[in-house]
Symmetry: C2
């Protein structure tokens, strides 16, 4: 059996997976639930912003041709409440930031460039009035001196200067984040049309594999780390997830889990274990019989037995409630991840996550690759490229610490230690997979190496305490 | 009033905010709900991994001193099921990857370094047996030739080589991510003790501000973008959130929202609007009377009127259900964000988010700062440092596109365009705030500038299509 599958390079495996992704349908959901989702329909502004000419400053709306001089304050325009004075040469209107500039006025003079001229009546009574009385009375009969002539349009945001009616404010294919939520609210989009979430089912296989709650462990048993981990990863990626449990190493038991995945309406089934070449590695044989295996060995370390298949399903799954006619021929993608936890971790990020992103509508679903400097010398493997777990950090050179050359910051990749594929601690705090080339010898400390981002750099180590300015 | 608050620099404002953060209590939750939470108690392994000496290869467990030769296969050890043969010189045990090495055997020889020797009986019957029969029969009476002598311990993971019983596998203060979920499962930690989530209440203020669902807008109205946006940002940061609505520009209305925040048990109240110097900017006066304002103006663009206060609360809020005795003196932090949406966006990231992270237990709650090259020339502001919204990308030099020098990749900061504080489109797709120094003149294209990460770089623009290898 081991010769049935030729060993393909990772980029080819990634391409095959993406080529087998279809497009999930769309759904319309409340905007406040849309963070992380991808727009399937662009959002267009139904009105302009500002919807009225708006003042940029606290000050006075003026008729710019009036120029310097002393004018009657004939009204007030505040955010949310505005007098409607008749514009006339020689008058001004008190205005606050963001408030509408009344019709007929064409500039704003900021309050710093003006001087209040209390009316005579108010001045007479000044001694007996509180400052608040004064303000109230003053409003009715105020005069102001404009000290700087305004140019037409000065300190006014014209209608539509931020957003023009009919403008596309968010494009189909954009991932909705925090700012996008604000933009949706601004244009009155309380609901948005987004790609559906892929439904991911996750199962583990293995006679030795037991529930994490098992304690003490029986002879030969190990706890199932993969299922919790992959469920968490798929949910974090934005998928709906279903826990399909642990299958024993029998065809019947594994088939039972597959059947439950199908009836739950799963789009993507992720298994772990059972893809090696032993006579109790039954996932591949089952996929061979019931579907199409697109690859069954990948040139990578860890993760060599990674398997990808598709199963055609007769019709839309019951219990999903969707419109079956909109997705004519259902099929299920199956990722057969290796059983070692680090292998399943690396394989998920390198092949499954891009697939989930593509299903969710990302226009560029591939993980981002950057170049970083190596904080320590690494031995390369002449047999396979290795995806070495590292924590990227922006810092001074870690291996020159305490020396005069320890200046200037750069992106450094710090290894998480022993990379044996059973040791999940090597994935702890990892935010990238370093691409260590297939070669003899060593990659020296300080070498520029490419790294694939697998986690948010907002939580990256900050060893130099740079973060507070 | 405008002179009451001295203008302080952003780092000082950040420090003041962090100095006023207290520690929330802990709670024990199911591990599968713990992604994004921070451990308040370290996690220790209750048993070793592997819990038994485990084979690294498919092959034969041997007694290494036996060396090269032909041996009887006296048993099998597979993941989850193991014969218990009596170890004896001159015998071997068939073993699969990850399976326990039976007692008395001290090395594994991989199958590639062995040769099966069918027993004579089996050889006689060979003609009439299927290969599966053969395997079955062969198991009972097999012999194997070991072609390479094994050294003691070869291809065996010793007990505890991945995790040692009693080892701290996750430390208090660590943020729980995908790999950490797997590690928790591995050590049988179905529940974890984590810092509580801060409870954040969000309100907007302003007579002009209306619900996003309002359409068409009445005269002088604008839709409330800030509340949805800040609710989304706080939830994304891991907080529990409560929507406190929109307050009119009256003290009574604003006080009413404050009261609702208190009775909901809010730890952090975020308001927007009402912090400028107009006579209807009532948030600051109210905070002055009911709490302590720690700063009321910050040297930043946008965001100058940013206000931070604390209110002492008489006792634990009812309706929270927590143990009041564990948090003796409750207080509420109040962030008075400016009303312009971009100002509230920038102020949230620069001051509120670090506070939320600190409350949630992050050991380094500050946003991470990196250095990037400027993709276009920017005008600096001599009055204030500017937090210019940019999309960071790893790419070739964007402004040399098509030219021979357009080689080699670097981190580039691409401006999101017009930075006026009312234009929320300038925050669309932004993943960093560029720190543009307070100065005259221009920052030239290509200059190295510091940038503060505000979003996940895993979704950064990938203009060169680098991502598929
Ligand atoms: Mg197995
Ligand atoms: Mg206001």
């Amino acid at each position: 059996m081991s010769n049935v599958y030729s060993m393909i390079p990772v980029p080819q495996a990634q391409q095959i997976v993406l080529d087998h992704c279809w497009t999930l349908g769309s759904e319309t959901i409340p905007s406040h639930e849309a963070v992380g989702r991808v727009l399937s329909v662009s959002v267009v502004a139904p009105d302009s912003l500002p919807p009225f000419p708006a003042s940029i400053k606290d000050g006075y709306a003026v008729i710019s041709s009036d120029g310097i001089g002393t004018y009657n304050v004939v009204g007030e325009s505040r955010a949310g409440s505005m007098d409607s004075p008749n514009p006339a040469q020689g008058t001004v209107v008190y205005i606050t930031t963001g408030a509408p500039v009344p019709l007929g006025f064409d500039a704003v003079v900021q309050v710093e460039d003006t001087e209040e001229v209390p009316s005579e009546k108010v001045e007479e009574e000044e001694g007996t009035m509180t400052s608040s009385d004064y303000k109230q009375a003053g409003r009715k009969n105020r005069r102001v001196r404009i000290l700087k002539a305004a140019s037409p349009g000065q300190d006014i945001r014209v209608v539509g200067s931020d957003i023009l009616v009919g403008e596309t404010v968010l494009r189909s294919g954009e991932v909705i984040g925090v700012a996008e939520i604000g933009i949706l609210a601004t244009v009155g989009a309380t609901h948005v049309t987004v790609y559906k979430q892929p439904h991911v089912g996750v199962m583990s296989t293995g006679d030795e594999v037991v529930e994490p709650s098992t304690s003490p462990l029986g002879p030969g048993q190990i706890r199932d780390a993969n299922r919790s981990m992959i469920l968490a990863a798929a949910a974090k990626a934005g998928a709906k997830v279903t826990d399909l449990g642990i299958a024993r190493d029998t065809e019947g038991h594994i088939q039972g889990c597959f059947d439950r995945a199908v009836s739950a309406g799963v789009d993507v089934l992720i298994t772990s274990g059972g893809v090696s070449m032993g006579d109790r590695d039954l996932v591949k044989p089952l996929l061979e019989r019931t579907g199409t295996i697109h690859f069954g060995r990948v040139l990578m370390k860890p993760g060599k037995p990674l398997t990808f298949a598709t199963l055609s399903l007769p019709s839309a799954a019951p219990g999903e409630g969707g419109d079956p006619s909109s997705e004519p021929q259902r099929s299920m993608m199956v990722f057969g991840l290796p059983g070692n936890p680090v292998s399943s971790f690396a394989c998920f990020y390198l092949t499954t996550l891009p697939a989930l992103r593509k299903l969710m509508g990302w226009s560029n679903p591939m993980l981002r690759r950057v170049q970083v400097k190596l904080a320590q010398t690494l031995k390369m493997d002449p047999e396979r490229p290795e995806y070495h777990r590292v924590a990227l950090q922006w810092s001074k050179c870690p291996f020159l610490e305490g020396r005069a050359e320890h200046v200037g910051c750069d992106w450094w990749a710090v290894s998480t230690g022993n990379q044996i594929s059973s040791r999940l601690l090597s994935a702890r705090s990892a935010n990238a997979l370093l691409e260590v080339p297939q070669a003899s010898g060593f990659l020296r400390q300080g070498t520029l190496v490419s790294a694939i981002l697998i986690d948010d750099l907002q939580a990256m180590p900050d060893p130099d305490g740079l973060s507070l300015q």
